[in-house]
């Protein structure tokens, strides 16, 4: 029960509340503003005269007759064929997540159950690999990939993203499997299962919470990636993030920035939905590595 002393407003509390308030505005405002502005014309969203034009859509009413327009979305999705990039992203992300999780669960389980010294060294190597800037690796891929003629394909990019994803996936699933009691799979093995059977029949049924959490982060890595997809995919296989970047190159001259704004809002929408449904898993995933130390 809150006592009077606890519910009273002290100066400290006022500072804390206003700090949180400022942060929330800073965090949310850019998204709200861009979402709202994506339904306006460029003259409103980038309004020299008066920023309130973007609120009421003064120029939008002049140019299109209504306060909201879907010109930007039409331009991006229909004229610039953004849907093609969305399909490409779907393919890349789906296979990256599936393969990463398959590899990661097997490896993470092995690392969690092996007490040997090399398991520790593997985890340390993974930590160093995790810190590599992705672009340094990309500069190592390009020349061999051109030579072997495998540049530009989905399969190449997917396996590269899977590999880049592995260090993180391994760490996360490793600490998750450590939390599953050893007795479970060991008693199955006493009953005559092989290690793999024990894994399949005892561990797999209980591992889904950890796998889903790790899967969310694998999804984010594949979806948010720019360095790898921009350099390794040919133009027709381009995913949405490099596509947005190449929009900018071509559209700024033609005054079609609103296409890019609409594309940016479209690219953020899936992330918004993801946070809406999986907030708790994301938070627990963020802190999983930390709590274990």
């Amino acid at each position: 029960m809150a006592t009077y002393a606890e519910s009273r407003m002290t100066p400290g509390k006022i500072i804390a509340f206003s700090l949180v308030g400022i942060w929330l505005v800073v965090a949310a405002f850019p998204f709200v503003w861009t979402f709202w502005g994506s339904f306006k014309v460029q003259a409103d969203f980038f309004s020299k005269a008066d920023w309130t034009n973007a609120l009421w859509g003064v120029k939008t009413i002049e140019e299109t007759g209504g306060a909201f327009t879907n010109q930007g979305y039409h331009g991006a999705w229909v004229i610039e064929e953004f849907w093609q990039n969305v399909i490409n992203t779907g393919i890349v992300v789906f296979f990256t997540v599936t393969i990463s999780l398959t590899f990661g669960t097997l490896g993470g389980y092995a690392l969690a159950r092996s007490g040997f010294r090399y398991a520790f060294w593997l985890l340390m190597a993974a930590l160093v690999f995790r810190a590599m800037p992705h672009i340094t690796l990309v500069s190592g891929y390009l020349l061999p990939f051109f030579e072997w003629n495998i540049w530009g394909h989905f399969a190449t990019t997917i396996i590269v993203l899977v590999a880049i994803n592995q260090p993180f996936t391994l760490w996360m699933l490793h600490s998750f499997f450590l939390n599953i009691p050893k007795d479970m799979d060991e008693s199955a093995m006493v009953d005559g299962c092989t290690r793999f059977q024990a894994f399949r029949m005892v561990i797999v049924p209980v591992m889904w919470p950890g796998v889903i959490t790790t899967g969310l982060f694998s999804f984010l890595l594949a979806y948010n990636d720019f360095a790898v997809t921009a350099m390794l995919l040919s133009a027709e296989n381009e995913t949405i993030i490099p596509a947005i970047n190449s929009f900018l190159g071509t559209t700024q001259i033609e005054g079609k920035v609103m296409y890019a704004v609409a594309a940016v809002v479209s690219a953020t929408a899936p992330l918004f939905v993801l946070i809406l449904f999986f907030q708790r898993q994301i938070v627990s995933g963020l802190t999983a590595g930390a709590v274990k130390g």
Partner: protein, 343 residues
């Protein structure tokens, strides 16, 4: 677990990491030892068996053939590492001998592409990381005192800037600080200077990128610390209160020490992520004033028609060395912890 079983379990992930992380590092190193073929060189290649004919025209066919036979280019040893675009020891030596003051010396060094990128990358990392940790801790303490009803929504809102695609998130901010965008126009209005543009000066560009960095990574430290705050044992807090500690004292002497392991975890993660700062420079088109190590590698690789693999490789190797130096304290500490546990 038996060695054999372990091997089969770890095989897929290990082969993926060896093939696409370890081998590329070796490939990057080999590339960095070579430079692209020059076209003039090909002319001497076109010599017949009965002695060379002096001709200076470029033999395209032979150039192509040479490129096909040796796609790496010609061996250059450590030449690429030492040239003007990388470590530039010769230029620094000259500057050292010729400049009078430290300021003049650093001006010359600061104009060398590699050191300029290194300076930006280190400044970005060194400014964003502590800012994010302090602000994250403050906001976590703030949210912790909020009524329960508001906690969920504030975490939801906070996750947005963190999970948004870096390229997209920085574009969103870039459009707002554009001189016609809502913030850019407001800043012009406040300072009453219609020509003020955040893109025009190096200092403002750096500041803009750092603001983006804080905005993007703050949620991570905030949420980690917030989760840590939930595990502070109540009885210790009460004991400190009984002993007469003020709120501030119990924060400094009880809560913060409890969060210390989290602080080192967050620092490690932030250092790794900030050191590879890349996308915001692309989004903000900030390359005129701010380039990071990642960005100059990207730029070398995109050099239209003739990517500078050697140069990109050399910068990549230097970057990797930087990452290892950055991680050394962590690795040493983990190694000690591991040994202590083992004995």
């Amino acid at each position: 677990m038996k060695h054999r079983t372990f091997f089969w379990f770890i095989l897929p992930t290990l082969s993926a990491m060896i093939l696409f992380i370890a081998l590329p590092i070796i490939s990057v190193f080999i590339q960095s030892l070579f430079v692209g073929h020059e076209q003039v060189l090909v002319v001497s290649e076109s010599c017949g068996p009965f002695g060379c004919t002096e001709s200076t025209k470029i033999d395209l066919e032979a150039t192509e053939k040479l490129r096909e036979e040796a796609p790496l280019g010609k061996f250059n040893g450590l030449g690429t590492y030492l040239n003007r675009s990388h470590l530039a020891f010769a230029e620094i030596g000259v500057a050292w001998a010729e400049t009078e003051t430290w300021g003049a010396f650093w001006d010359v060094v600061g104009d060398l592409p590699f050191y300029r990128a290194l300076a930006f990358t280190l400044t970005y990392t060194a400014v964003v990381t502590p800012l994010v940790i302090l602000l994250g801790l403050a906001i976590a303490l703030g949210v912790n005192t909020l009524p329960k009803l508001f906690k969920g929504p504030s975490i939801f809102i906070s996750l947005l800037p963190f999970l948004v695609t870096p390229l997209v998130g920085s574009l969103i901010l870039f459009w707002m600080v554009d001189s016609d965008g809502v913030l850019g126009a407001t800043i012009q209005f406040i300072f009453d200077d219609p020509n003020l543009s955040l893109k025009a000066s190096a200092a403002l560009t750096w500041a803009m990128l750092i603001v983006y960095g804080v905005w993007h990574t703050l949620p991570f430290s905030f949420i980690t610390f917030y989760a840590g705050l939930q595990t502070v044992p109540d009885d210790i807090l009460e004991a400190s209160k009984v002993d007469g500690a003020s709120k501030w004292q119990s924060l400094i002497f009880v809560v913060v020490p409890h969060l210390m392991p989290l602080v080192s975890f967050v620092t490690l993660m932030l250092l790794m992520d900030n050191f590879r700062v890349f996308e915001p420079i692309v989004s903000f088109s900030a390359e005129a004033h701010a380039r990071s190590l990642s960005w100059i590698i990207y730029n070398d690789l995109r050099e239209s028609g003739n990517p500078l693999y050697g140069s990109a490789g050399a910068t990549s190797m230097l970057t990797i060395i930087g990452v290892v130096i950055l991680l050394t304290p962590v690795l040493i500490r983990t190694w000690r912890d591991f040994n202590r546990k083992a004995h």
